[in-house]
């Protein structure tokens, strides 16, 4: 176990001395995750709300598809997006392969079903008395929709935090679409994978500690949203 404690010590040194490679991976991870999450939220929150709030033919089928996509393997997303953005693919002219924007596309696809399905579930699970209460107080249909969103705001926060946690810890999309290029598309998870395969534990442990810290923050936020949602 000597190599582990040695690795841990080196890892702390890397973090304290702001090691370039380590912090580049952290920056790439947070940049791609935040961009993917923002795009997924912009698309997924309205879609999920409509899916949960309105009734239309084919709604159950769409819900089934969205729920099925929750289990989409990240490497499969990576493969599909790869086919589209590779130099011979339909979007090859944009040069997105092995770039952060390329990774963002894949990570957005990963986050989208989580946001759509869980937003729809939050709307569907809202107490029916909420709608009736708003109607008995004279709410118009627009006010009804807006106040429904307000009432599930903490659930929506939890949905976004969950999607962030899923994207920030994924490896498949980042590896296949980012290419694990040092100081460019190397993320925390792909760096940990690479450094471990090389037998270099220090940077892997350092990044692992940062990921653990992020996981703690994510869980702290989830717990806060859950508590506020129950109040």
């Amino acid at each position: 176990m000597g190599y582990f404690s040695e690795g841990m010590q080196k890892a702390i040194d890397l973090l304290l001395h702001m090691d370039d490679a380590t912090f580049s991976a952290i920056e790439a991870t947070l940049t791609s995750t935040c961009c993917a999450l923002l795009i997924a939220m912009a698309l997924g929150l309205p879609l999920g709300f409509l899916l949960g709030y309105t009734n239309f033919p084919g709604k159950k089928f769409l819900r089934l598809i969205s729920d099925t996509l929750l289990a989409f393997p990240t490497v499969l997303i990576g493969l599909i997006v790869y086919v589209f953005i590779t130099y011979r693919g339909p979007l090859g002219q944009f040069g997105l392969l092995f770039t952060l924007p390329g990774m963002v596309i894949g990570q957005t696809i990963l986050a989208l079903p989580i946001i759509v399905s869980w937003t729809a579930a939050a709307v569907e699970n809202l107490d029916v008395r909420c709608r009736e209460t708003l109607l008995t107080l004279g709410a118009s249909s627009t006010q009804l929709a807006l106040h429904t969103i307000r009432e599930i705001r903490y659930h929506l926060g939890m949905v976004c935090v969950t999607a962030f946690g899923r994207v920030v810890t994924e490896v498949g999309v980042a590896m296949m679409l980012g290419g694990n290029i040092r100081y460019s598309t190397r993320t925390m998870t792909t760096a940990i994978s690479l450094e471990t395969s090389k037998g270099e534990f220090a940077q892997g442990i350092a990044l692992g500690l940062v990921l653990l810290l992020i996981a703690f923050l994510v869980n702290f936020l989830m717990s806060w949203f859950r508590q506020k949602g129950r109040a």
């Binding site: 909420c130 209460t133 008995t136 709410a139 106040h147 009432e151």
Partner: protein, 210 residues
Amino acid sequence: MNTLFEARDLRKRYGDITALYLPFFSMEKGETVVLTGRNGSGKSTLLRLLAFLEKPSSGTLRYAGNQNDPRKEITLLLQDPYLMKASVFWNVTLGLRLRGFGRERQKQGYRESMLAVGFADPDGMASRGPGELSGGERQRIALASRLILSPSVLLLDEPTSNVDAASEKAILNVVRSLREKGVSVVCATHDRGIPEALDAREVSVVNEGC
């Protein structure tokens, strides 16, 4: 004729189940009516129809008030009221906010309606959340959120069930004072003492469709 509601052959079905069949029902403006009947007799369903939350499956229901938007005049207090995930002040003034009234009117209405339902210190309650309230307090706050709207018709579904004696007394006092102001009240209850306590006309609801 001062008829407020008149219903004939009123039927409400949910799928194959007839939740309510009422051959005839009418009430006058300013009258207080207490609906009594067994569980499943359709009292709550009748209130929901009178509140225009739902449409009857068949039959006619006439209302002699605002035809375009009757929900501006009629409000219903649910049996187990729902409070939004927000402060007491926010919950009580929600209806005013939905109607576009400003902060000053909200503050004034909040104070008046909270005092009316028996809260001696409305300001002390203002920032409390729904999780910090007892069952009786929730019921009275929900009632305050309806009173603040100065409705012409107040519909109450089992307002005194699951509340303590003090809350029950406060709620009944509110209903009596509303009658003096000419507000029409329909109250569904299991409590056989309520019609007498309110000196109201009792209408027994028997679901003849069952």
